[in-house]
């Protein structure tokens, strides 16, 4: 897993938001919201934890000798059935999910924005095709669609990432399409057209920045769902494979020890709770501030 991947998504988001609306206004409003600040701190903690561990040379695979030790002593969260430190592995477990979920969201955002811009601008057949493909893709429960994909292309984090990206893309496209509908009625689009600007330019230079606030909000909401989805898929054994410290995988692997070593499943479960709640509160705050 690379450090760059993890950091990319939040960076891209914050950069984009700056170009869109008045910078001080949005940033200041967000910073005055305690739930937003707390959530950013939690997310920052989970982004930093695997990176710091990697620097310290603690990869969560070190065996300590004591198997299924309860919390206490040198192991604040105890040890698992192979004698690995649950605390270190829980910290390291943020790595896989914070690689897969932002990457899946990035795929969905790029593909979805392009589809939504095209459908909203050209309408007609392009639009119909998009909406019908959406109907079909979402007629199936998501899990079933992804089971199909993993049955065909094998179980791996990359399959999961692309599958989630493709599954979310039409949702983002639909939101962008609605926003484009509103924008195309405005004068600047008309004047760009009459000045003979190319279609590409109108789509990506004129329209895209103006639908960006909607896109950013939708992308952060999708990020929350991507974390949810990829964690669940790892739990089902369709994503990360052992000995990855991925939270979903760890919980499913230690499920059979729940009566003898409850700590080996409880702490990863609590960790993912803090992460998803933080991501969702960030999305929630962004929506309220950017769309007010």
């Amino acid at each position: 897993m690379s450090v760059i991947d993890i950091k990319l998504a939040p960076l891209v988001l914050s950069k984009a938001s700056r170009t869109v609306t008045k910078p001080q206004g949005v940033g200041g409003k967000l910073l005055r919201r305690p739930t937003f600040v707390l959530s950013v701190l939690i997310l920052g903690f989970w982004v930093a934890a695997p990176v710091v561990l990697a620097f310290l040379g603690l990869d969560g695979l070190n065996r300590t000798g004591g198997v299924n030790q309860p919390p206490g002593g040198g192991h604040p969260f105890g040890t698992d059935n192979l004698g690995r430190d649950v605390f270190i592995r829980t910290l390291a477990g943020a790595g896989p999910i914070l690689t897969i979920a932002p990457a899946a969201t990035a795929i969905a955002t790029v593909v979805g924005a392009a589809m939504g811009l095209a459908a909203g601008y050209f309408r007609g057949i392009v639009d119909d095709l998009l909406m019908r493909s959406f109907d079909i893709l979402h007629a199936l429960p998501g899990i079933i669609a992804i089971l199909l994909v993993t049955a065909a292309f094998g179980r791996s984090p990359v399959t999961i990432m692309i599958a989630i990206g493709i599954f979310f893309a039409p949702i983002i496209a639909r939101t962008v399409r609605s926003a484009v509908f509103v924008e195309t009625g405005k004068q600047y689009v008309e004047s760009a057209r009459s000045q003979g600007e190319s279609t590409w330019r109108i789509l990506f230079v004129e329209l895209l920045p103006n639908v960006a606030p909607t896109l950013i909000v939708e992308a952060t909401i999708r990020l929350g769902f991507a974390v949810f989805a990829s964690a669940g898929l790892s739990f089902l054994g369709l994503g990360a494979q052992p000995p990855s410290p991925d939270w979903g995988l760890v919980v499913s692997q230690n499920r059979i020890f729940i009566q003898t070593a409850w700590w080996s499943v409880t702490f990863p479960a609590l960790a993912i709770m803090t992460l998803v709640v933080a991501v969702n509160l960030i999305a929630d705050n962004l929506r309220e501030v950017l769309q007010s």
Binding site: P141, I143, F228, G232, N280, R287
Partner: protein, 343 residues
């Protein structure tokens, strides 16, 4: 996860959509009915292609690299696999429509009775969870509406939205540790045998049902809250208050009925989720339903079970969503389903 994904409440954040024309209701229903076979056809092509064609020769992947070509050919003949062609697809579809769903490679039993048993288990669990969702969703939504804007309302909103964002396995794990490991109220595994008594069944299903409920109660509570607030601001509510009716009477006779209509759509979607998307919860609790079966089928390459599971789940969820929309229209004829889909 998937269920993960279906937990997606379809959060709509865009700005206003262009004006929507109204269409006669008969045409809308007809259109939806025509869509069902089309979607099922596309799903069946996808299932055939992704399960039997993309991963390579199914006979070879089941028998392994040391089987002779003749053995592979014989195996495929015995299992009615023609090949990766239009003819192969039609043969498979024909057998499937006649009710010949093949033999489970894992259990060595016909697939159809297996699926039926799993489906009944899943539906039982789904209905249990659905009852919980309805009861808690309505109670919480009403409570929030009557405390609108207060700290308890805002806290509940944040709490419920957060709860629905947490993967089911995390909620389920915490429930298991607290109520099964420490308190010992419920079994650690929810396996069900034919001779399990009803009360044991209910006990085994309780934690899975509450886990499912946690994921979807937030959406329902939000709809109930919004519907109730709208009702509370309406003239007939004021009339009822001015008439001097007692609050309990107003709530039960006037408010609840009017505020529940918008919730029906969400409830239907949730029921589809509860029955179709329970793979994670069933896996966590080892509950023998269709979700667990689908996961095992993928992991063990039990292709005939996988095909049947997906076809059945797709059919069930499509029909459920259609029925929901019809009920929704019947409850409130002003609702134009086509406009809801536009958003």
């Amino acid at each position: 996860m998937a269920t993960l994904i279906e937990a997606d409440g379809g959060v709509y954040t865009g700005t206003a959509v262009s004006s929507v024309q109204r269409r006669p209701i008969g045409r809308i229903i007809a259109r939806r009915l025509v869509q069902v076979p089309i979607v099922l056809f596309i799903v069946s092509v996808l299932v055939f292609w992704l399960v039997q064609v993309v991963p390579g020769d199914p006979g070879r992947s089941v028998l392994g690299p040391y089987a002779t070509d003749a053995q592979v050919a014989l195996w495929k003949e015995q299992h009615g696999i023609v090949g990766a062609s239009v003819e192969g697809y039609l043969t498979w579809l024909g057998a499937f429509l006649r009710g010949d769903w093949g033999i489970s490679l894992l259990y060595n039993e016909p697939v159809r009775p297996l699926i039926t048993a799993w489906l009944i288990n899943s539906m039982t669990l789904g209905v249990y969870a659905f009852v919980l969702v309805v009861v808690f969703g309505i109670a919480l939504g009403l409570f929030q509406a009557f405390h609108q804007g207060r700290r308890s309302d805002r806290g509940l909103t944040i709490g419920l939205v957060s709860l629905s964002a947490i993967p089911e396995f995390a909620v389920g794990t915490v429930l298991l540790v607290v109520f099964s490991v420490f308190l010992g109220w419920f079994p650690v595994y929810s396996g069900i045998l034919p001779d399990t008594t009803l009360s044991d069944r209910l006990r085994a299903m309780t934690l899975p049902a509450f886990t499912l409920m946690a994921a979807s109660v937030g959406y329902v509570a939000r709809m109930v809250r919004a519907g109730t607030i709208e009702t509370l601001e309406s003239p007939f509510y004021r009339t009822a208050v001015l008439k001097g009716l007692r609050e309990r009477q107003i709530v039960s006779n006037h408010v609840i009925r009017n505020s529940l209509v918008p919730s029906v759509a969400v409830l239907g979607g949730q029921l589809a989720y509860l029955i179709g998307g329970t793979a994670v919860v069933e896996t966590l609790f080892s509950y023998p339903g269709i979700g667990l079966a689908s996961v095992v089928a993928v992991q063990r390459k039990d292709i005939f079970v996988l095909e049947a599971v997906i076809m059945v789940t797709a059919l069930a969820s499509i029909v459920l969503l259609l029925v929901t929309d019809l009920i929704y229209m019947a409850l409130d004829p002003r609702i134009d389903i086509s406009s809801r889909n536009q958003q």
